[in-house]
């Protein structure tokens, strides 16, 4: 049985493990290295590309990738709320400050703020890019078994980093439960974070107890792990093969696409005229 997500805009982290370990779609069967390459590709792509249509094209690709993994659409929409919130809150000021044709005016008690077309444009491009990358990376996370992640982590990171990375992944569920328990207990006694802010001691107590519990939980888990022979490196059970030739072909295609869009951007060639 799962608990509610403790944060209003982050879905239950357990989805990641659940879908990754139980699914068997074509994306689940894809070589994890190839999938990792796709994340890198999408990050480089959105960094190089300025054009909104290309960004939309990547988003469409990302969504197809997601659908191919047979993951529920509802879940990705939940996950999207985070990047949407951040893009909007950070690029909010650009709506008004970016020079250009004024689309609408906001009158805030005598202060007149004009929303410009260019400002809206920037916000949209940033938003589409963000959603595309998030969709690709979450699809990979929700289709890659933990054992493969262990293997990859130890291959691409130094040992200490990989161990902390993997243990953090494991502990995220614990802390999520811990905080939702505390928040539940607080809500059930008519408390709330808003009221808490006014009484900073209680507010601090909530985080303080969360921290102490997390520490003590970590100590117990650490003991349980040491009791079962843990000495600092997590065991790697499944070795990953190299990508298949199809995987290499996909990676090659991605590199080619990056090459073309970079060429376009930096040498100002009009590709759409081809």
């Amino acid at each position: 049985m799962t608990r509610r997500a403790y944060s209003t805009h982050v879905p239950d982290f357990r989805y990641i493990t659940y879908f990754a370990e139980t699914g068997s779609s074509i994306v689940h069967r894809m070589n994890p290295w190839t999938k990792l390459a796709l994340i890198v590709f999408s990050v480089v792509f959105v960094t190089v590309v300025l054009d909104i249509y290309l960004a939309i094209a990547l988003l469409v690709f990302a969504l197809l990738f997601y659908v191919a993994a047979r993951l529920p659409i509802k879940v990705i929409i939940g996950w999207w709320s985070m990047p949407v919130l951040f893009v909007v809150s950070l690029s909010f000021l650009y709506l008004f400050t970016e020079p250009g044709r004024t689309l609408a005016e906001l009158n805030l008690g005598g202060l007149r703020l004009g929303i410009t077309g260019a400002g809206v444009g920037i916000m949209l491009v940033l938003l589409v890019k963000a959603l595309a990358v998030v969709t690709v990376s979450l699809t990979v996370a929700m289709t890659t078994r933990y054992n493969y992640i262990v293997h990859m982590a130890y291959r691409i990171m130094p040992g200490v980093l990989a161990t902390v990375f993997l243990l953090t992944y494991r502990f995220m569920f614990e802390t999520a439960d811990e905080f939702s328990d505390i928040l539940d207990a607080m809500h059930s006694r008519s408390g709330g974070l808003v009221k808490g802010v006014r009484r900073s001691r209680t507010f601090a107590g909530i985080f303080g107890i969360g921290f102490v519990h997390a520490f003590e939980r970590a100590e117990t888990i650490s003991k349980a792990m040491e009791a079962r022979g843990f000495t600092g490196d997590l065991p790697v059970t499944d070795r990953l093969p190299r990508p298949t030739y199809k995987g290499y072909a996909l990676i090659a295609l991605a590199v080619f696409v990056i090459g073309v869009v970079s060429y376009w951007r930096y040498f100002n060639i009009n590709l759409t005229g081809w």
Partner: protein, 232 residues
């Protein structure tokens, strides 16, 4: 809550590479120091739990009159586990945040720089206040956190201002003035977080003093009794 909430595609490729390279150098240095120390597995577990807590706290929206903000707790992590392991924690938190769209993948580097500044300043400022100046747990925690977060908020303005937002025609100074509005909010939040951290440290000092053992005031050095009532 100094955290660059920009998604992938916001920075130009040049600056993306610059910031990430700097971050890698800093992480590399932290890892070298850890290797020399030979960290026991239990400390790794505790660092991981810190990372998980910081990650969890990152996602808890605290409603304020100006809009939702989130806490950070990176200075607290620095105080508890030191700057080297703290740097590792910061990197890991940023990687997981990127995976769910809380800041882009390309921002892992720049955000880690910001976070590492926070853990390092948090740790040393706390040491200074607690061990040298002999302030109470509360004031040491408050001072260290407020200081670290103020510096890091300004660092965020600097990083974003220098790097420019792709597609925006605003000049660097204009971008920076945009960002300063956010920095003001961040600094205000940082001071609030300082209060919370101060209480958390005072709380830890009472229930788990062993967690703050490494910041103990040397006893041979003119001991002064801890005030019986912590601030507040």
């Amino acid at each position: 809550m100094a955290h660059i909430h920009l998604e992938d595609g916001a920075f130009t490729p040049f600056w993306l590479i610059v910031w990430n390279l700097i971050a890698m150098l800093l992480i590399g240095a932290a890892l070298m120091m850890l290797k020399r120390e030979k960290v026991p597995p239990s400390r790794l577990t505790i660092a991981s739990m810190c990372a998980a807590v910081v990650f969890a706290v990152f996602q808890v929206e605290v409603p304020t009159p100006i809009g939702p903000v989130h806490m950070n707790f990176t200075p607290l992590v620095g105080i508890l586990i030191g700057p080297e392991l703290g740097a590792v924690v910061v990197l890991i938190v940023n990687i997981f945040s990127a995976a769910i769209g809380h800041g882009g993948w390309g921002m892992v580097g720049p955000n880690s720089i910001v976070g590492m500044v926070e853990v390092t300043l948090g740790y040393y400022a706390f040491r200074l206040l607690r061990v040298r100046l002999r302030r109470s747990y509360f004031w040491s925690g408050f001072g260290a956190t407020a200081f670290a977060l103020t510096v890091s908020s300004l660092l965020v303005v600097f990083i974003v201002g220098v790097s420019e937002i792709q597609g925006s025609t605003l000049s660097r100074t204009e971008t920076m003035s945009n960002m300063l509005v956010l920095a003001a909010l961040n600094i205000a939040t940082g001071i609030a977080e300082g209060v919370v951290t101060g209480y958390v440290i005072a709380f830890l000092g009472r229930v788990r003093p062993d967690l703050l053992e490494h910041h103990r005031i040397p006893e041979h050095d003119h001991p002064r009794p801890e005030p019986t009532t912590e601030a507040g």
